[in-house]
C-alpha cells in the first residue's frame, strides 16, 4: 500500500536524480551557454525540493535568484568573454 508519505519521498528521490543529471551535464559541457541552461534545470529541481521540504520563504528567494537573475549575469559574462570552455581539462 502506497502511503502519502512514501509518495512524497518518491518525488524527492526523482528530483534528486534530475538535479544530479543537471549538475553533471553543467560541469562537463564544453558550451558554456548549455552549461548555464543545465544549471537552471538543476536550480528548478532544487526549488521543488525546497518546496516539498516546506520552506516557501526559500523558494520565494531562490527562484528569482537562481532562475531569474543568475543566468542573466552569467550570459552577460559569456557574451563579453567568449563561449567555449578550454579544449582539454
Amino acid at each position: 500500500m502506497l502511503s502519502m508519505e512514501t509518495l512524497t519521498y518518491g518525488i524527492l528521490a526523482l528530483l534528486g536524480v534530475i538535479s544530479l543529471l543537471g549538475t553533471y551535464l553543467a560541469i562537463i559541457e564544453k558550451d558554456l551557454v548549455k552549461a548555464v541552461i543545465f544549471s537552471a534545470l538543476q536550480s528548478t529541481a532544487y526549488a521543488f525540493i525546497f518546496y516539498i521540504l516546506m520552506a516557501p520563504d526559500i523558494v520565494l528567494v531562490y527562484v528569482p535568484v537562481a532562475v531569474g537573475l543568475y543566468p542573466a549575469i552569467v550570459l552577460f559574462l559569456i557574451k563579453k568573454t567568449g563561449r567555449l570552455d578550454g579544449d582539454e581539462p
Binding site: 544530479l20 553533471y24 520563504d57 520565494l60 528567494v61 535568484v65 531569474g68 542573466a72
Partner: protein
Amino acid sequence: MKGWKHVIAITSLVVSTSVLALATAIGGLGYILPTPGVRDLAYWYLVTVLSPSNKLFTAMSPEAVTSIVWDYRGLDTLFETSVFFLAIIGSIALMRGIKIVPERLRNYSSGMSPIVKTVTRITAGMIIAVAASIALHGHLTPGGGFQGGATAAVAPLLLMVVFSIYFIIKSGITEERMLALRTAGLVGIVFTAFSACIIAASLGTQAYVFQNQPKSTAAVGLPASIMGSLTSGTLIFFNLFEFFAVAAGFTIVFLLLSIPENIVKQALRGVESEH
C-alpha cells in the same frame, strides 16, 4: 566513444547514490530520515512567535522565518546586509570611471520583436506589484524584504534585455538615483534598529537595540498592531527598507554590467591617456 564515457559516468553516479541509500535503508549507515520531533530551540521559536497571552517573550508575527531574521537574530542579518553592501561597492569600484555619456543616448531601435516588447511592458508592472505584495505582507505570509527585493530586481533587468540599456537610462533609472535609493534603504534599516532607543532616550527610560516589542526590563517598543491590523512592530519597516536596498543594489550592478563593450574600451583608453 565520448558519449559512452558520459553515460558510464552518469550511470555510476546514480548507481552509487542508490547503493548508499539502500545501505542506509537496510541499516548499515545510521538513521537518515528526520525524526517526528523537533529540536528544543526550534520548539521555543515556534511557541513564542505569536502568542498574545505571553506578552513578554513574543515577536507578534505569524511568520516565524521573518521574525527570526529580523527580531531573534537581527544583528546577524545586519552584518549580512553589510556584506551585501560591500560586495556591491566592490563591483562599483571595479567599474569606476565608466559611464554612458548622455550624448550617446540615441533612439536605439534595436531590441526584440514588438510582441515581446508589449508583453514585457505589461509584465514589468505585474512584477513590481507582486514584489511589493511579497515584501509588504512579509510578516503575515511567506515573503519579506530579501524575497521582494530579489523579485523586483528582475523587472529592470528584463526591460534592459528586451528594450536596451539606452531605454532604461532615458526612462529615469540611472545609477545615481539607484545609489540614492539604496542608501536611503540602508539608513532606514539603521534608523529602525535604533528607533526604540531614540524614543526611550527622549522619554528618559531605557530600551534595547533591535527591539521589536516592549519587554519587562525596558518599557519601550513599537506597537504590535496599528489601527487594528497586525504590523508586528519593527518587522514591516525592516522589510520595506530591505526591499529598497536589495532591489536598488542589484539594479546598479546590472546597469554597470550591461554597458556595451566598445563604450567600456573607449572609457578605459581615456583613463589611460589621462595618466
